[in-house]
């Protein structure tokens, strides 16, 4: 601790240079935070996907409907515990950019399928007693400042009503929370029976996909094959897969973006390493005479090396940690895209990786100049002053 003022006074010596280097590192870690949150948003569905859940969709594509009669047939297959339907609604709230997931579901079955959605019992009762009732996740409730009792109009883009109108009105009867930080709390769930009765005649009796719970996750593939076999050669053949594979399929479409981001981040950190390393090398070059003096006074080579490394660590490390802190604070304000990333947060594990990276950067940037300072011969350094 008695050497702290030495490190600090050296950093204060060239304030502009220190500020610029500090800012560069800070911005790099701010970027790290944001890219980490974006990557998490893209992959979160995969990481939280239930191991015991299957997704059953039409073999051709997700937009082809399946008959609602499949539910009972799926539940008869060996190994299936429960099945429940969901359908992509794709409506617009106020304006198209207000994107969020909307689906008609069977309340009890759906919530039983997703125990990570935490809805108070009285709100579930209210949902069951209100045909136009909707339960929304905490994230979108906060986003649109919705409260229980609010009426929410949604303009349909796919599912028109029997009278030809596109306007669907829902009453908010519940707000669910996530059991974990990664739980998707940006869903808008309304009753399937209301939806099915109100939509146009020709479309009734069809659903988008089924979510199926199996009794043994190790048998998921076998059960998925059994489901597909059950509906083989029917007018609506199915494609069953684990939820993990289903979500991974979506994520893979964006997989290259993740790789690009990793590449960008690597380039940024390499550049920052050069910037910070150059700053430290320059400070050592400028202080060769001073290093000679403190060695003459009696500082050992190791102590001098430690001082240079400490300086680098304080500069890059503190800038990195401040950058991570600022990133965490900004990211905590939520999804900056207005809905594209419902699960937008800075994972603590990535924060820890960032902190480690900041320390590594500090050491790496100071390593070469510190070795130079260590090797410097006293008499030579005093002559070069």
């Amino acid at each position: 601790m008695k050497y702290v003022h030495l490190v600090w006074s050296n950093l204060k010596r060239k304030k502009v240079r220190t500020f610029l280097t500090f800012s560069s590192v800070l911005v790099a870690f701010l970027l790290f935070g944001y890219l980490s949150a974006i990557e998490t948003a893209l992959e979160q569905g995969v990481s939280v996907a239930g191991a015991d859940r299957l997704m059953v969709r039409h073999k051709v594509s997700l937009i082809q409907p399946l008959p609602e009669t499949y539910e009972a047939q799926i539940e008869q297959i060996d190994g299936v515990v429960d099945a429940t339907p969901a359908t992509w609604f794709g409506g617009v709230y106020q304006e198209p950019r207000n994107f969020f997931f909307q689906a008609p579901v069977k309340p009890r079955e759906y919530l039983a399928m997703y125990p990570e959605f935490l809805l108070p019992e009285d709100q579930l009762e209210a949902w069951l007693n209100t045909r136009t009732g909707v339960v929304v996740g905490r994230a979108i409730a906060d986003r649109f400042d919705w409260k229980i009792g609010d009426r929410v109009p949604i303009q349909a883009t796919i599912w028109f009503k029997r009278d030809g109108s596109r306007l669907w009105e829902f009453d908010i009867v519940g707000i669910y929370d996530g059991a974990e930080q990664a739980t998707d709390t940006a869903q808008f769930l309304f009753r399937y029976d209301y939806f099915d009765e109100a939509r146009q005649e020709g479309a009734r009796g069809n659903v988008g996909w089924y979510i199926v719970r199996v009794d043994d996750p190790d048998r998921s593939v076998e059960i998925a094959d059994a489901i597909d076999e059950r509906f083989a050669n029917s007018p609506a053949e199915t494609s069953a897969e684990t939820e993990l594979a289903f979500v991974q399929g979506f994520a893979n479409q964006l997989g290259n973006i993740g790789k690009i981001m990793t590449g960008v981040l690597s380039a940024v950190f390499f550049t920052i390493l050069l910037v910070a390393g150059n700053t430290m090398a320059q400070t050592v070059r400028e202080r060769i005479g001073e290093i000679g003096v403190i060695k003459a006074i009696g500082f050992t080579d190791r102590q001098v090396m430690g001082l240079v490394l400490a300086e680098s660590l304080v500069l890059a490390g503190s800038a990195g940690l401040v950058g991570l802190g600022v990133a965490a604070w900004l990211i905590s304000a939520g999804d900056p895209t207005g809905g594209a990333f419902p699960m937008f947060f800075f994972p603590p594990a990535d924060m820890a990786v960032g902190a480690l990276l900041a320390i590594t950067l500090g050491v790496a940037a100071g390593a070469f100049p510190a070795m130079q300072a260590r090797r410097l011969q006293v008499a030579e350094a005093l002559r070069r002053k």
């Binding site: 001073e290 009696g298 500082f299 050992t300 008499a379």
Partner: protein
């Protein structure tokens, strides 16, 4: 620090050469030197005669090519880098021609530097810094940075830094070389007082005969040889 036959410094057969490209420059040749404890010795000689090199060898900043350098009974030339650094911290105080204060530190912090290496509490360090600055008459300038001090004042801070740990041997390389006569005299007064009143052994390299007169003995270096007489 123990001494050898009453001599705090005993150099025997010291040779030092430097390489400059393919050329070898012979700086010191088979040099012997004894410095008694408490002596104020001036080393004179023309530029390039090896005065500073000899000072560096005595202070353990450099090693002789051949010969032995004993300071206070310790074979300085045989110590490893780490032990040598610790030895310097305990026994040697350096005063440089261009003061060599750390510009980012205040006068007090500069004086405190060698004390950081000693097992002292913050309070003890502060007390020793005050004492050292008082000895050089700068106890009212503790919070000033080098750039806020005159050359003479900076050199006094340099001396305070050199004596802060109460070293046995004070090595001064042209301590008045960058100062006007008045400031130089003030510095020499301090060095003389340290020698006479505090019994410090001082080795001072200088070009200036006026400065050398303040020392108890003057020796001359010429073409790598040490003599008691000024060379013709």
């Amino acid at each position: 620090m123990s001494d050898t036959n009453g001599n705090i410094v005993q150099a025997r057969g010291i040779t030092k050469n430097f390489k400059r490209g393919a050329e070898t420059i012979h700086v010191l040749h088979d040099l012997d030197l004894d410095i008694p404890n408490g002596e104020f010795l001036a080393l004179m000689g023309p530029s390039g005669s090896g005065k500073s090199t000899l000072l560096n060898l005595i202070g353990g900043l450099d090693r002789p090519d051949t010969g032995s350098m004993e300071v206070g009974g310790e074979r300085v030339d045989a110590l490893g880098a780490r032990r040598l650094a610790k030895w310097r911290a305990r026994h040697i105080g350096f005063v440089f021609q261009f003061y060599n204060l750390l510009p980012a530190l205040t006068a007090a912090r500069n004086v405190e530097l060698p004390l950081l290496l000693a097992p002292l509490s913050k309070k003890e360090r502060r007390r020793q810094v005050e004492t050292a600055l008082k000895v050089v008459g700068l106890d009212h300038r503790t919070k000033h940075y080098p750039r806020q001090l005159s050359g003479g004042e900076q050199q006094r801070v340099g001396i305070a830094r050199a004596i802060a740990t109460d070293p046995t041997l004070l090595l001064c390389d042209e301590p008045t070389g960058d100062l006007d006569r008045t400031s130089g005299d003030e510095i020499l007064d301090i060095l003389q007082a340290l020698s006479r009143e505090h019994g410090k052994t001082i080795v001072m390299v200088t070009h200036d005969p006026h400065a050398a007169q303040r020392a108890g003995r003057t020796m001359y270096l010429d073409e790598g040889h040490l003599t008691a007489e000024r060379p013709a």
